[in-house]
């Protein structure tokens, strides 16, 4: 079993999920994740289906641990955890694999992701302003402040885009929930 490491950064967990399942279809199975570093092991093509979940609390919380224990009892492996994210997988022979099967639980999951993105964005805006103002006051050259400001701005824009994307998804599902279960 050989290993392969890929460095990549995803903002959209569903795109990430699709990529991991594409990799698995080629026989590259995620076995570890940390800080934008994915470690894969080779195996039979299409052996696993991968799903990501943002837990309500820290992975080490007793509540989260109880949940992960339940998942393993029903045949779902947690191959990696990263902050509140968990990378789950289940053998493809066990059939289609989804963590959430009804609208209520899917809305709740997107809502957690929305809250996370929104709070990071909200924290980053004043941080950007304070940093840029401080540096300008302390007489840092514009040649230094401007690129930094651009980086901050790009980060805020990315996070805001994600916040809006997930907010839209929550809205869509809520709309559906008005007539369906």
């Amino acid at each position: 079993m050989s290993a392969k490491t890929i460095h990549k950064l995803y903002w959209d967990f569903e795109k990430e999920e699709r990529w991991l399942n594409d990799m698995s279809a080629q026989g590259l199975n995620l076995v570890h994740y940390s800080w934008g570093t994915y470690t894969f092991e080779t195996g039979p093509a299409g052996e696993w289906i991968y799903r990501l979940e943002l837990l309500p609390g820290d992975v080490r919380d007793p509540k989260s641990q109880k949940y992960l224990e339940f998942m393993s009892e029903v045949g779902v492996q947690a191959v990696a955890t990263y902050m509140r994210w968990v990378y789950f997988r289940r053998p493809a022979v066990d059939g289609p694999f989804e963590v959430f099967s009804d609208l209520d639980s899917r809305v709740a999951h997107y809502q957690r992701i929305l809250t996370m993105f929104a709070s990071i964005t909200a924290a980053l805006v004043p941080l950007t302003v304070v940093n840029v103002v401080n540096m300008t006051r302390s007489g840092s050259s514009l040649a230094f402040v401007l690129p930094l400001f651009a980086v901050y701005l790009a980060l805020v824009a990315t996070l805001a885009t994600q916040t809006i994307r997930v907010w839209w998804r929550v809205r869509e599902l809520r709309e559906q929930k008005r007539v369906c279960e």
Binding site: Y67, F70, P96, S101, D102, E181
Partner: protein, 108 residues
């Protein structure tokens, strides 16, 4: 015993309560619901966990010790859970009867 019904149950809750008329662990519930719905419903493990936790908190199901040497938690429906299912069945029966009556009159 509840004086009034809590309102329409979700499909997940209804089927989980039905499944637990025999004590089962999580995987058993998933398998049972998939079978009685002819494969239409594949309960997501996260969704099921949420339902089991909520129903246990409400006292509609209770956890029971698994068979000897088994670490997995088994669940079973309580008397309150049973009466909730009965009330829901009455409601569903009304829906089906009314639906069929209207459709039959229309096709006359």
């Amino acid at each position: 015993m509840p004086d009034e019904t809590p309102g329409p149950l979700t499909e997940t809750v209804f089927y989980v309560l039905l499944a637990l008329h025999t004590p089962l662990h999580g995987y058993g519930v998933m398998k049972y619901v998939n079978e009685i719905s002819d494969g239409r419903i594949a309960l997501g493990a996260g969704t099921l966990y949420g339902a089991l936790t909520t129903l246990a908190e409400k006292g509609w199901i209770a956890s029971v010790p698994g068979s000897a040497g088994e670490r997995k938690k088994n669940y079973v429906v309580t008397d309150e859970g049973r009466s909730i299912v009965l009330a829901e069945l009455k409601r569903l029966d009304e829906l089906v009867r009314n639906g069929q009556r209207v459709i039959r009159e229309e096709s006359k």
